[in-house]
Symmetry: D2
Subunit: 338 residues, 4 copies
Amino acid sequence: MIIIMKPNASQEAIAKITRTIQDSDLQVHLSKGHQVTIIGVVGDKSRLQGKNLEIADGVDKIVAVTESYKLANKKFHPDQSVIPVGTTTIGPDSLTIMAGPCAVENQEQMMETAFAVKKAGATFLRGGAYKPRTSPYSFQGLEETGLRYMKEAREATGLNVICEVTSQHAIESAVKYVDMLQIGARNMQNFELLKEAGKSGMPVLLKRGLSATIDEWLNAAEYIMSEGNEQVVLCERGIRTYETATRNTLDISAVPVLRSRTHLPVIVDPSHATGVRAYVAPLARAAVAAGADGLMIEVHPNPACALSDGPQSLTFDQFQELAGELRPYADLAGRKLG
Amino acid sequence: MIIIMKPNASQEAIAKITRTIQDSDLQVHLSKGHQVTIIGVVGDKSRLQGKNLEIADGVDKIVAVTESYKLANKKFHPDQSVIPVGTTTIGPDSLTIMAGPCAVENQEQMMETAFAVKKAGATFLRGGAYKPRTSPYSFQGLEETGLRYMKEAREATGLNVICEVTSQHAIESAVKYVDMLQIGARNMQNFELLKEAGKSGMPVLLKRGLSATIDEWLNAAEYIMSEGNEQVVLCERGIRTYETATRNTLDISAVPVLRSRTHLPVIVDPSHATGVRAYVAPLARAAVAAGADGLMIEVHPNPACALSDGPQSLTFDQFQELAGELRPYADLAGRKLG
Amino acid sequence: MIIIMKPNASQEAIAKITRTIQDSDLQVHLSKGHQVTIIGVVGDKSRLQGKNLEIADGVDKIVAVTESYKLANKKFHPDQSVIPVGTTTIGPDSLTIMAGPCAVENQEQMMETAFAVKKAGATFLRGGAYKPRTSPYSFQGLEETGLRYMKEAREATGLNVICEVTSQHAIESAVKYVDMLQIGARNMQNFELLKEAGKSGMPVLLKRGLSATIDEWLNAAEYIMSEGNEQVVLCERGIRTYETATRNTLDISAVPVLRSRTHLPVIVDPSHATGVRAYVAPLARAAVAAGADGLMIEVHPNPACALSDGPQSLTFDQFQELAGELRPYADLAGRKLG
Amino acid sequence: MIIIMKPNASQEAIAKITRTIQDSDLQVHLSKGHQVTIIGVVGDKSRLQGKNLEIADGVDKIVAVTESYKLANKKFHPDQSVIPVGTTTIGPDSLTIMAGPCAVENQEQMMETAFAVKKAGATFLRGGAYKPRTSPYSFQGLEETGLRYMKEAREATGLNVICEVTSQHAIESAVKYVDMLQIGARNMQNFELLKEAGKSGMPVLLKRGLSATIDEWLNAAEYIMSEGNEQVVLCERGIRTYETATRNTLDISAVPVLRSRTHLPVIVDPSHATGVRAYVAPLARAAVAAGADGLMIEVHPNPACALSDGPQSLTFDQFQELAGELRPYADLAGRKLG
């Protein structure tokens, strides 16, 4: 932690801050420049909680030197993690494809979709049984019935299944049916839910919040991991910007940035990022080329009749074609698809 | 709902969409221009759920004509609402001031603060017993003990008290101690929590999400209201932008925009919006001048030692001075302060 | 300047950077922490131009301690500036109101508007003779003819006049007709234009760029000032965010932030910020309450027929009413209006 | 153009608008719904300039049906354009690589770089002779001397050369030395400069503005094209968002979005988008996979000593390696590299 003083900070102000730091059993490094004095703090800065030096006399600003996330931090865990889920793993050697409809609608839909996406190369079936919708008047999901359809599709195909959870109650149900829990963008900083997901002991896919910085996202992962559950996979799904040509702006740079900051795997969801079917394939290819460990793609037997997010869903044929297109990109990245 | 066709849309495509609409018992108004055909849909558009006309052949884009929120919509409730809370009301005739620390830390802090803010003109004591913090290693709140301290301060001073809730469990506790529940920015689209807050029957202060549009915010209010609880007050607390000079960017325009779209009261939180003590007073004045129904201000007996958000908290003296400064602005707005 | 090393930075890496700094005749302050080493650089950091220590071995990040703008910086010029323009001054004692149409359309329009806004209390007539429009097919301005109409209105009323300039050629014309040049948002980082405006010796109103940070804005002011022209006034006119309820998001916090960073006056343009007539009055009041030194307001004899930005323009009656409303706010701020 | 009326709009209001439209020789299509009336306008909407129906009585909002850019619009020019520049072309069959330093510093630097990037597969040498820098105290470029060094490197290697222009004066010089003009992000809405670039008759690379929407960008291209110069190539270089992990956020979705809206070629600049050398290669691959027609990459003989943007520049070896990595991606895209 570095404290930058104002040009006109008095000797008394500097001495007072120095004393506060030393009284907290931390070391001080003073650096007096022509214009400003800089105070370096050496040691565990959590000892300064409740000291609020930002508003002490003479302080201009404070700069953090180390990140607040530890378990998710690559500096302390340099090797990339491999997360085992169900019958497979997510990590550097494979290109994991999770596919399925936005919302679980009925048994046939899930069964049909499961067989279609498995055939194309997906290893996960996705589906929403609890739907966080902007308006209370939109379809809200089949809940436990939906989870049951997912489990049946899992048993019929051997696919792993993943479902979003939106409450402690949903977690309690989901752990009985699925292989991996998903925390959605709107709940990325629902810290109570993160803790519950951590306690569940299940692998967790953590989507990036609508306007979360990469550091906030890694701190959210830390909430899950600090409950003793290190099976976390991150999912970039677009951030909110001023541009309205796509529903969100896919932050493709997040892939290499995360690679440099964390050991956790990263997958990309081009369907939610754009909201437009025609943009899914080019962005799926781009994600693989940028180094993503996997993709989450919306697929529906009949997008024109989907109860949620139809406009961004691929048909079975389109998905089959996309998977074929992705194989040489997976090869170039040294990853196994399917 | 208006469907704008592509310039080259075929007669068949137009006929097919027309049929789909009519088959849903809705009326069609066709408008053929030089370049494009426009299809107006008349009637209850929820009948088109699961039709996804966006991806039908020949469609360029779809434009919504009516808002998806109804109970919160000024079009259907033109008179401004007055929300009764505890011993007071929030609405057009008063300038409601909610003041207190970010986090409840101990009994003395709450009692002392309650007397100080009451003296200055506040009618609400605020305090956080459940703290959603970015890092799991930051102070997380005193929970029910904190609520108890708030209730004691309420009984000693006659102030109304408000506390953020972050889970169903927290709501169950809070209803026993406080006059108003607060849903924080990070939970604005935690729809399960919104529904529980709605069911509680308590007045709810709904903060705007970090990057929520005004329409999404009103839809979140609709979640609470559609549970039969219309006692909702909105709180603008800054949105996320590229500018880093303040923690968030206070969207002061939200005050008149909301006034034109909803009958619900609007208050402004300049403390969280800026994160900097020196900017709180000018923005509090600006909020009143823009027409806000109230303010939420962070006050702490000793900001330099606050466990959360000290840098943006006012001392008792600073708050007393601010309240004095605000009185003539309240007078100009025709509002009673305190 | 502070250099923060990576946790695993080698002694050689640290020694090499130390040498580079010392070879540039600067002093080094080393601070070794438990995890990281921090290197403080004391002296004129421009001596390190072309050294790019960011990419030297072992460096994690570099933090600037001092701002790159000097002439605009409050640290070196603590007293607030008063800028003389024509027959008046802009600064802490007055509330300057600049009013007029977005675009100069004809002689009558300017003359009529000049008398109307003067009567209400404006001291400046604004009007655009060179219009930067998003589409090349929109009205582009009357150019020198428009400037002539402005000058005639100036002579008839005694108002000061201000006009946007978009090229060196426009500056050459404008200096013959107006009292103050305006650099628009789209040209805030057109550095060639800033230098020309600086050389003109005329007072300059510098609008904030569509997505400029406050620091970039002050650096743009520095471009003008470093040509020897310190007569600069800043104008906040809304920034680009994800919110679409207003054309831009008025960053009202910029007023107190600028007050703490620069001695230059700040005015606010609520018309361009919102793009909606009904929001102009509440935001004008808010700007004065936040401490602005003035306002720029669009006024048109017949907004329904304005060739540019009619929807945000006030009629003469509306402007007269607004000016009346603002007087008590100016009084509270200790400023003279008109 | 569609006019959506308020629910309570009177018959008189509707009739008045209808008359205004018909008086402008346009056709009206009325569509009365249960709640709102919609008025479709058929014909050339430029006839309504100066009518400002947005503020007519009873109007809720107006929706544009057609884009304001015509020459750049794919709807009217469905085939993808191929732009001839110097000895090569930019378009669907090739992967054009433009490489070189941010700033021209001296003759040796340009000559050395030219040979190195040509050997790796670049067909363009880039270099800045006029540098738009945030601070007036940073290096501003060698101007005409820099252009001369570029031309010498062009003659020695046969590479095509491209240089940013920042003023009419710079254009006048540049046309004598280079094959293609570049308009930088900060000047994307410097409409005077766009017109001059249009008049020059030279091919123009138009970078996206810092916070320009895709529609504003295409309107900026329209400014150049409406001067009779259709040789325009677009360059995505990152947009401004709240995320600070990268200098800008590369909007990779812009590639497929532009492909659906315009016939003009699109290249991507990952160096300026991220500002970090380590992220350039993954994003360059992603851009090719997303369908870009080319890349602009910063390369410097000695990035540690570059006078501008060293931290994001590749060494010759790094560039050679990247070009090798890109070849199989170019093959997959059916494009010729080099």
